[in-house]
């Protein structure tokens, strides 16, 4: 068996294979439900209605999608330049720390939101600066360094919450003081849980799209990612572009943490992110690194999480099904994308 490239895949092939991937994911979900002793149709139905079935469910899904759009964008821009940033989780927490640091009364009230957002982006960018400089200067593999930074950052957050940032009124729980009212992102409408962070995420996605397609830096970034050797030969300042891409990626990931603290939680705790940084990789890959596509895949992924929670309460199937669903959706989608470009031949 070997692979033969398909130079010009037909439109039918390009549409049919992702659809088949989705169908295969549904089959896997059904088998998992059967394994848990539940009716697969009921389980799937409950996931869908639990995610999108009511206004409340839909808003909850969009709320959950907000940090995923930011981390998805962070991963998408970095991967576009073939900079393998696996450390969005660390950058997210850097943003969250800044939101607490400047949101609990340190800054004056009028500009607290924009200033703390900007400082959060800066903090996230700085977290990724070290790994990217190690890569461009010494050739250190950024997969390793950014991944390890996640653990360093989690332990640092743990230290902060047990020490200098611990809320004295927190009954001994490891969480920070709550943000002042002026430092919080308002709700989009009274009585809804959805906050303005979601709108910011949409704006960020559009901004990244425009940056990639319309600006000189975006062109450089795509060139470096598409063919590093050709880009360097043509005079693209490859190292500068990689550093700038890293700063942008880190900044976007930090906004995820910042908006979770400022928009949703109101304080920092160790369970702020259930792996949004890692899930961002799935979101970005499913979107084929397209910034506008990230919006759609983030909502899809958030829907699976939120829907699985609701389903679990109703059907008694563990929520782990959500992780398995996402994993199989990603694997099938990657396979489908591969098979649009190559075919398997015998011999």
């Amino acid at each position: 068996m070997r692979l033969e490239p398909i130079p010009n895949p037909t439109l039918g092939r390009q549409l049919a294979l992702p659809a088949a991937a989705l169908a295969a994911t549904v089959v896997v979900a059904s088998l998992l439900a059967l394994l848990a002793g539940a009716n697969p149709f009921a389980v799937l139905g409950q996931i869908v209605t639990g995610a999108f079935g009511s206004k409340f469910a839909l808003l909850e899904t969009l709320n959950r999608a907000t940090p995923l759009i930011f981390t998805g964008l962070a991963v998408a821009v970095a991967f576009k330049a073939k900079l393998w940033n696996i450390g969005a989780e660390a950058q997210l927490y850097a943003g969250a720390i800044v939101a607490v640091l400047f949101g609990t009364g340190m800054l004056g009230t009028p500009f607290v939101l924009p200033v703390s957002a900007a400082l959060a982006m800066l903090a996230g960018a700085l977290v990724l600066l070290g790994p990217v400089l190690l890569k461009t200067r010494l050739g250190v593999d950024e997969v390793v360094t950014t991944l390890l930074f996640n653990f360093i950052m989690l332990l640092f957050v743990s230290y902060l919450l047990e020490g200098p940032m611990k809320d004295p009124m927190g009954m001994g729980w490891p969480k920070s003081e709550a943000l002042i009212k002026e430092a919080r992102l308002p709700r989009i409408a009274e009585g809804l849980r959805l906050h303005w962070g979601f709108v910011l995420a949409l704006i960020a996605a559009i901004a990244v799209h425009v940056l990639e397609r319309r600006t000189t830096f975006g062109f450089e970034m795509r060139a470096v990612g598409a063919n590093l050797g050709a880009a360097r030969f043509a005079g693209v300042p490859v190292n500068r572009v990689l550093v700038q891409t890293a700063l942008l990626s880190g900044g976007l990931a930090a906004l995820a943490g910042w908006s979770e603290v400022a928009g949703l939680k109101g304080h920092l705790s160790q369970d702020l992110s259930p792996g949004f940084g890692y899930t961002g990789i799935i979101v970005a890959m499913l979107a084929l690194l397209n910034p506008l596509g990230v919006i759609g895949t983030a909502i899809f992924v958030a829907g699976i999480f939120v829907g699985s929670d609701a389903m679990s309460r109703a059907a008694g199937v563990p929520t782990y099904i959500a992780d398995m669903l996402l994993a199989s959706a990603l694997l099938f989608m990657v396979l489908a994308i591969l098979l649009t470009r190559v075919r398997l031949v015998r011999g």
Binding site: T216, N227, F233, G235
Partner: protein, 516 residues
């Protein structure tokens, strides 16, 4: 296997109506040919004519859509290299398939020895290799590490590998592309011995004089079809060439020119060796306005690093670069561009273009950061598309439009786009590294015409090529590079291919070293 030994003149190999399609492209169309015992046939054709595809079918790497392969009267199962090997077909690929970190002996016996009695078989294998070496004139040391061998020696190992597996039919895919003229002569000597011992050979080439020298019969392929089969004793190079390209093609002829001022000077430049790649050693070279300087040499002798140096990718470790008499303060690809150096890279797919980018993006790849293409950090795509349209029109790039992905273009059209990209800004210095490799005759003539025109308008051109004919017909001055050292320059018409071949093999430098 046949029971009776085949006699001279028996047909040992028959290809019957082989057709192979890749999507819409018909790579081979109903090709039939016979190979007799003790015969050398040449498969002649331009790049892309279908020679390599045909041989890959014969050897079982590809499966034909129609037709069959018969060896010694038996039909080969399609798509099975193992069966082809067992039937006595041996192939020497253009790109060697040897393990660099193993010895010659290990490379030859790899895959033939039993797992259990390794020690015992080795002595027998060693004796057998020694016998084959002597019989066919393939001198190579069995315990040498392949990584330490020259290209010519590696080729001998490849041939020995096939002979060791009892090949009766040898297929050689462009075997002379990497050899000096002298090494080519030695290869031909070996092939003649093999034929005298009853082997049959298929020799793939697009070099006419070699085909005339070694082959008995010549089969000419064009666009996947057999367009002619001629006895080499009853034809000449001109008619073969006409068969090959389908019409009489006149290659551009460059007239000698008087050199202008020195535009680029390399002054005693040295670079360290990088991995297995040769560095430059104390190399000095002047490129003059209005002159084409040809750089001949066997590949891997420092051409790559010299090209990288002039491209701005590499800085000299010792010595200096001067452009129009001034040493640039810093040196990078962008500096090279700012100093009006046009660079045609050796590998247009990997270095010259970004395959997934469209024609517009590739057209502005070197100038994207300058107005009018970039203003205040924003790309001006309409201006870039206009620029691309201009190149497409002036350089005759056949394509579907400025937004087509460049990977879908043929090699010739891709090269024309690169030519347009580098020549439009009006360069003073042109580095052309293997500018016509893999192109058809029409595109070759076009590229050469453009280089001559640039020279006539005062540019200094450095032409790097492994094809001596190309170097000799275009260059006003010829240098030879060997192991990172540069020969003296020979003015047009003052040297022969044989003399250049000696320099390519490294002779002549000793005297020069001693004198220095």
């Amino acid at each position: 296997m046949t029971v009776t030994a085949p006699q001279a003149g028996d047909i040992v190999l028959r290809l019957d109506n082989i057709t192979k399609r890749f999507g819409a492209l018909v790579a081979n169309s109903a090709i039939s040919l016979d190979l007799k015992r003790g015969e050398v046939i040449a498969l002649l054709g331009e790049n892309g004519a279908g020679k390599t595809t045909l041989m890959n079918i014969l050897f079982g790497h590809y499966q034909a859509d129609e037709g069959r392969v018969e060896v010694f009267g038996q039909t080969l199962p399609p798509g099975n290299p193992r069966a082809a090997l067992a039937a006595g077909v041996g192939m020497v690929h253009q790109h060697f398939t040897l393990a660099d970190n193993l010895s010659v002996l290990d490379n030859i016996t790899l895959g033939t020895e039993s797992l259990w009695s390794r020690g015992k078989g080795r002595q027998a294998a060693r004796a057998r290799i020694a016998a084959l070496s002597a019989e066919f004139g393939l001198a190579v040391h069995p315990d040498a590490r392949v990584g330490s061998l020259s290209v010519g020696e590696r080729q001998r190992v490849e041939i020995l590998k096939a002979l060791y597996r009892d090949a009766r039919i040898l297929i050689l895919d462009e075997p002379t592309a990497v050899l000096t003229p002298q090494e080519t002569d030695a290869l031909f000597e070996t092939l003649r011995k093999a034929v005298a011992l009853g082997l049959s050979i298929i020799f793939i080439s697009h070099k006419l004089h070699e085909v005339m020298a070694i082959a008995d019969r010549c089969i000419v392929l064009r666009h996947g079809k057999v367009v002619g089969e001629v006895n080499t004793h009853a034809t000449d190079r001109a008619s073969l060439a006409a068969l090959m390209v389908g019409s009489a093609v006149t290659l551009p002829k460059a007239e000698a020119r008087v050199a202008g001022p020195v535009l680029l000077r390399l002054d005693h430049v040295s670079t360290r060796a990088r991995g297995t790649a040769t560095g430059l050693s104390d190399l000095s070279l002047d490129l003059c306005s209005g002159q084409i300087t040809g750089l001949a040499g066997v590949s891997g002798n420092g051409q790559a690093v010299l090209a990288d140096l002039i491209s701005g990718l590499v800085r000299p470790d010792a010595g200096r670069i001067e452009i129009a008499g001034v040493e640039p303060a810093s040196w990078s690809p962008r500096q090279a561009l700012n100093h009006h150096i046009a660079r045609i890279p050796e590998d247009r797919h990997k270095t010259g273009t970004i395959s997934d980018f469209n024609l517009t993006e590739n057209a502005v790849l070197e100038t994207y950061s300058k107005p009018p293409f970039s203003r205040m950090g924003w790309m001006n795509w309409p201006a870039a598309e206009d620029f691309a349209r201009g190149i497409i029109a002036r350089y005759d790039v056949r394509c579907q439009g400025v937004l087509q992905r460049i990977r879908l273009l043929s090699g010739g059209n891709m090269q024309k786009l690169i030519l347009g990209r580098v020549l439009e800004p009006g360069p003073r210095i042109i580095l052309a590294n293997q500018p016509v490799r893999g192109l058809d005759v029409g595109a070759i003539a076009y590229v050469h015409t453009q280089l001559i025109a640039a020279r006539d308008s005062g540019a200094a051109v450095l032409l790097i090529s492994e094809d001596l004919d190309e170097i000799q017909s275009l260059s006003d001055v010829i240098h030879v590079i060997s192991e990172g050292r540069l020969s003296p320059g020979f003015a047009r018409g003052t040297t022969t291919a044989a003399e250049l071949g000696l320099w390519m093999a490294g002779q002549g430098f000793e005297g020069k070293d001693r004198a220095a």
